[in-house]
Symmetry: C2
Subunit: 459 residues, 2 copies
C-alpha cells in the first residue's frame, strides 16, 4: 500500500485497523466464488463516520473501495478485481435494537444472520429469508445481495423486510432511507435501490428490518420420482392446490448420491426427491396444507411419499437437504454453484436442459434448489487444475445462463451478478435498462471507486 | 390547446383520442384530493408505442405530461398543477395473461383492481394489497402510489407483488424491468424505483404481478374500548401474541357516530372499536389466532368483545368499516383524508395527538385506519366555502404531519406525497436523501416534463 494512503487511513481508523500484510491481502482476495484478486490492503471500520471519512479520501485519491462482510458471496462481488482497499464491516456487529411491539430490529451490517435469529428466538420471532449461509453470512451482505433462501416461496427475500437503511455514499455523505413505520410511500424507494446493489452504489452502515412472528407448527413430507418430468409437473401443480408450502426443495440424482456417500441417511437414488414443509399455528392447519401437497405428489406418479412423523425424521430430512452444498463440494477439487431461476411452468424444461448441458459439455452437474420459487442450484463440479475442465465449466455456465433466459427466467435468483454473471447481463436486460443502470452507477459514483468492475456496468 | 400540438397528437392517437373541450379539461383537473388545476387537454392512449411517441413529442416541445388512471388519488398526484396534457391510460385495460402455475398475472395499467380480483377468483387466487378504492382504482395507479389496504400488516403492499414492468421513459424510450421469475437479483432493482414514483420517472405500460392463493377460512371479532389508551395498547401488544392478523382495523368515536347516522348498524359509540380478522385454511387455525387477539383485547380492558358467528355478522362488520370514508365524506362539504403511519408503539400517542390537534385547531377530525401496520386515516372535516375553516384544516394537516414525524413515523403510508405533502418532504427526509431524489428525477427527466410539481422535488 502507498505509504501516504496508509498514513491517511491510520488517521481515520487507527494503526491496528489498517493492514497491508501479505496474509491479510491473500485472505481478502477471495470470496466463495471461483474468482480472486489481491487488494492493496484492508481496513476495519467501526462507525458510519469512519466509513464516510474513508470514502472522502478514496474519492479524492481515486482508490477503489470494496465493502466486505463474511465473504460468503458466490459470484465474486467482494473480490477486489481492480485492486484497491477492502473495507471490512465485520466489527460493526451490534444489534442496536429489537422491538417486538414495533415488529422491527435495527442492526449494524456486520451482524451475522444466525446471531439475529438467536436474539429473536426468545420472543418467538424470526427474520424469514433464511439464507443457506446464515450461520456465517452477515446481514450487510444479505442486504447487498438481496439474499433469499429456503423460505422464499412463502416469505419472500431480504428485500421484502428492509424498512430503512443508513448508507454512506461514494462521496462520503451519510444518508438515511425509508422509515421505521411498517409502510411508507414517501418519496422514491431509495431503500430498495440499495438492496441487491452489491456494494456498488453505497455502503450500508445500519439496517432496519421488519421481523415476523414464527409459526409454531410445521408438517413435512418427502416424495421420490423416477423421472424429472413428473417431479417438475408436481412442482408447478402445487400452486393449483391453493396453498404455498413454507419450503419446497428439490434434490437431483447426483445430489442424492453424493449425500449417501457422505452420510448414513440412505436416501433413495431416484431422478428427483422433493421435500415439502407447510407451516402454521395448529397441526390441523399444517396437515391440511401438506395433504394438498401430497395429493399433487401422488397424482404425478411419486414412487414413494413419506410424511415425517417425529421431530427426528424432520431433522434428518432437512439435514440431508442442507448438506447438499457441502457434500458436493467435496467430490471434485472445484465447483461453481449457480442459482438460475425460471417461471414455475419452466422447471421441467430447466431440469432437462441442465441434464442436456451436462452431457453436451461432458461435465458433472448436480442439482438441488428451491423448487417452490423456481430457483435451482446446479452445482458444476470440475477439476480446477485441468484447463480443459475449466473450459468445460465455463461453457456449461454460459449454456446454463442462456437456457434460463430462453425459458423466461433470470440469471440469478439470490446470489447476484458480481463478476461471474457480469458478461451475461445483456442477455437478460434490454439496452435501455442497461443504460439506466449505468446512469445510476454514474450518478452515485461518478469516479467509479466503489466496488468497480461488478455487474457488467462498465462498457 | 396549441393547434400545432393538437395536430401532432392526432397524428399519434387519432382524432377521436385527443380532446381540449372544456368539459374534459374540467374532468381532468381533479382527483380525490382537495387540489385542482385545468390541463390544456388530454389524450387517450392504447399502446406503449403511442405513449412513447407522445413522450418524444412532449420532450421536444417541453410540454408537461400527466399520466392518469381512475383519478382516485388522495394527494393530488394526477392533478396537472403546471398545465400540460393529461395522458389517460384507462383504455389500456386488458388482462394480458393469468398463469396460476407460474403464480403471476400480466396486466395493462388501466385494468381496474376489482376486475383482476374477479378474474382471479375462479382459481381461488387474489392480488393481496386490497386498496379501499379497489372497485374503481386502476392497477397502474396502484403501482404509481404503491397502494396498500386492509391486508397490509400480513400481506404487505403493492411493492411486494410487482415482479416486473414495462415503462416508457420521459425521452420516449421503452424499457423492461424485473423478471417473470418469482425472484431475481439481476442488476439494480429498477422495478421498485418506479413503484410509488407517482408517475414522475416514467409511464408504466405493463405490469407483471405475483399473485397469491386465497386462504379459505377467516375468523372475525370486534372489541370496544372506553379509552384510546387501552385500544392503542391492545394494538401494539398483538405482536407479542405471536400472530399477525390478516386485518386489524380501528374506528374512532367520530367515525362510529357517523356510521350510525348513516346506517342501521347501531355500533356502540365508544372511544375506539377494533376489528380483527385472522385467516388460514382451517377453522382451528383461524380460531386459534383469533383467540390470541381476543386475549389481548380482554387484557386491555375491552368493554365488549364479540366474535362474529355468521357470514352475515362478518359482512356487517366489514361493511361498517368500509363505509367509514363515504359516511364521513357526507358530514361536511369538504374533507381531507390523511394516511400518517407510525411505529406500532406510537399508536396511542398518535391517537391522542390527533385528538389534541382537533381541539387546538377547532376542527373535527374523525379517525379510522389500518391499526395492524400503524397506518391511521384521520379524516379532517371542514367547510371549504369558509376561508377560516380552510386555514384550520391546513394548520391541522401541518400539525398532523409534524406529529407523525416526531413519533418516528412517515407522512404517508399509502396515499403518496403528490401535492398535499410536498411542502413537508424535508420534515421526513434528510438533505442528502432529498438531493438524491432530485438527482434521480433529473437523471430520468432532465426537462421536467413528466408530472412536474409533485413530491417536493423542485427547489
Amino acid at each position: 500500500m502507498d505509504e501516504k494512503l496508509k498514513q491517511d487511513l491510520i488517521q481515520i481508523v487507527g494503526e491496528a485497523n489498517v493492514t497491508d500484510s501479505l496474509i491479510d491481502r491473500v485472505s481478502f482476495s477471495y470470496d466463495a466464488s471461483e474468482h480472486s484478486h489481491r487488494p492493496e490492503g484492508g481496513v476495519w471500520v467501526e462507525s458510519a463516520e469512519q466509513v464516510s471519512e474513508i470514502m472522502k479520501l478514496a474519492n479524492r485519491e481515486r482508490i477503489p473501495i470494496i465493502p466486505r462482510g463474511a465473504g460468503t458471496g458466490l459470484s465474486g462481488m467482494a473480490v477486489p478485481i481492480e485492486g484497491g482497499i477492502i473495507l471490512d464491516l465485520n466489527r460493526m456487529n451490534q444489534i442496536l435494537k429489537i422491538s417486538i411491539e414495533d415488529r422491527l430490529a435495527v442492526v449494524q451490517p456486520g451482524v451475522v444472520y444466525a446471531n439475529l435469529e438467536k436474539a429473536l428466538a426468545p420472543d418467538g420471532f424470526f427474520f424469514p429469508p433464511d439464507p443457506a449461509s446464515g450461520k456465517v453470512s452477515t446481514l450487510g451482505g444479505n442486504v447487498a445481495t438481496n439474499a433469499g433462501g429456503l423460505k422464499g416461496a412463502k416469505y419472500g427475500t431480504t428485500r421484502d423486510y428492509v424498512l430503512g437503511l443508513q448508507v454512506v455514499l461514494p462521496d462520503g455523505r451519510i444518508m438515511r432511507t425509508g422509515s421505521k413505520a411498517m409502510k411508507s410511500v414517501s418519496g422514491y424507494d431509495l431503500t430498495r435501490l440499495f438492496v441487491g446493489s452489491e456494494g456498488t452504489l453505497g455502503i450500508v452502515t445500519e439496517i432496519t428490518l421488519k421481523i415476523n412472528p414464527k409459526p409454531t407448527a410445521t408438517s413435512t413430507a418427502l416424495a421420490t420420482f423416477d423421472n424429472l418430468e413428473d417431479a417438475g409437473n408436481a412442482i408447478n401443480q402445487i400452486m393449483h392446490s391453493g396453498i404455498i408450502p413454507s419450503a419446497l426443495e428439490i434434490l437431483g440424482r447426483e445430489t442424492l448420491s453424493a449425500i449417501n456417500q457422505n452420510t448414513d441417511l440412505n436416501l433413495p437414488e431416484v431422478d428427483a426427491m422433493l421435500l415439502a414443509e407447510t407451516d402454521g399455528y395448529t397441526r390441523e392447519e399444517t396437515d391440511y396444507q401438506l395433504g394438498k401437497v401430497i395429493d399433487v405428489f401422488r397424482r404425478n406418479n411419486a414412487r414413494e411419499v413419506r410424511q415425517a412423523e417425529t421431530a427426528k425424521d424432520v431433522e434428518d430430512l432437512w439435514a440431508a437437504r442442507k448438506s447438499a452444498y457441502a457434500v458436493l463440494a467435496r467430490i471434485e477439487s472445484n465447483f461453481v454453484l449457480e442459482d438460475v431461476t425460471v417461471p414455475m411452468t419452466q422447471i421441467t424444461a430447466l431440469l432437462k436442459g441442465i441434464q442436456g448441458i451436462s452431457e453436451k459439455q461432458h461435465i458433472r452437474i448436480a442439482t438441488f434448489g428451491h423448487a417452490g420459487d423456481g430457483n435451482l442450484h446446479p452445482q458444476i463440479l470440475y477439476n480446477g487444475y485441468d484447463p480443459e475442465q475449466v473450459k468445460q465449466m465455463e461453457r456449461a455456465s454460459a449454456d446454463l445462463f442462456k437456457l434460463a433466459i430462453d425459458l423466461g427466467g433470470t440469471l440469478t435468483g439470490e446470489h447476484g451478478i458480481g463478476l461471474s454473471k457480469a458478461p451475461f447481463m445483456t442477455l437478460e436486460h434490454d439496452p435501455v435498462a442497461m443504460d439506466v443502470m449505468r446512469s445510476l452507477k454514474k450518478m452515485f459514483d461518478p469516479n467509479n471507486i466503489l466496488n468497480p468492475g461488478k455487474m457488467g456496468l462498465e462498457v
